[in-house]
Amino acid sequence: MNGFNGFLRNDYLGLVVRLAVGIIFVYASIDKIAQPGQFARIVYNYHLLPGELVNLMAIIMPWIELFCGAFLILGIYKEGSVLILNVLVLVFIVAVGVNLFRGVDLECGCFTVSSKAKGAVLGLLIRDIGLLILTIYLFFNRSRRFCLIKTRG
């Protein structure tokens, strides 16, 4: 068990995963922030939200991705950001999973709002699950060694 605990507490692994996840989310947010209208269309096409909430979601979610990603990179509010990202990735997985079940040809809206970026839905699901493994690792890795704000709270 010592090895597993060491794996969870490893400062360097924690840092690498933190930076990787942070960069992924910052990168993913940029195109969506630049083109909220296009992103709203993609959110709508998931057919999971009431029409009235589609635009609000499209306006706010990319900024949450941006700040969580940036805070993760810097090590500010790390625990809170990691919690949000875990929830977000779970939401992505449910959203993609439901549409995989429905057999809908989906525009991901993951990294770009270009309508050319249609991927195989199963591939998206696998990618999201990979991301979830990283965010769950961060959830249990409580290292603060390279964080800008080291105090709890």
Binding site: P36, R41, G51, N55, L56, I59, I60, Y77, S81, I84
Partner: protein, 162 residues
């Protein structure tokens, strides 16, 4: 503590998002008009459609173009129908009286823009005929929203007139 942090991050992000959406030139309405009817992503195509006709689009695609101001809607029905109720902002180019309207409307239309042509709904083919005429006259970005007025109104999307 973790939850408190998360709430702070969400509140902060939401505040920045709202401000940025208000200031930014690419901002969108906070509450959008998206159709909430089932089947809105299916594309209706008239039986008389040929290969080479302009593309047909679904209610979803029409609503997206409307919201993104990604094109001009053109109503191919008679002026009385148009006056009675139309897609908000649509122009009227009645196919049955085309010679009376063409010279007044068409020369002002930019060929770089997208045009979404509609009529009553799946019982009417004026949109198809008008779209063919526009393409024949050099308009390249022409779409047919064959679900038309009926689908638009049923989805309670923005209308005017009446």
């Amino acid at each position: 503590m973790m939850i408190k942090q998360a709430l702070i991050v969400i509140a902060f992000s939401a505040a920045v998002a709202v401000c940025s959406n208000l200031i930014s030139g690419s901002g969108i309405p906070f509450v959008g008009n998206w159709p909430s009817v089932s089947g809105s992503d299916t594309v209706a195509v008239p039986p008389s459609a040929d290969e080479g006709d302009p593309p047909f689009i679904s209610l979803d695609e029409a609503a997206a173009k409307f919201q993104l101001r990604d094109g001009v809607f053109i109503d191919a029905r008679d002026p009385e129908d148009y006056e009675y109720g139309r897609i908000k902002g649509a122009l009227n180019l009645p196919y049955d009286y085309l010679e009376d309207y063409w010279d007044e409307i068409v020369p002002d239309l930019s060929k770089d823009k997208q045009y979404i042509i509609y009529c009553s709904g799946t019982e009417c083919e004026l949109s198809l005929f008008l779209a063919r005429d526009l393409v024949y006259n050099g308009f390249e970005k022409v779409f047919i929203f064959y679900g038309g007025w009926r689908e638009w109104e049923r989805a309670k999307l923005p209308t005017e007139g009446g």
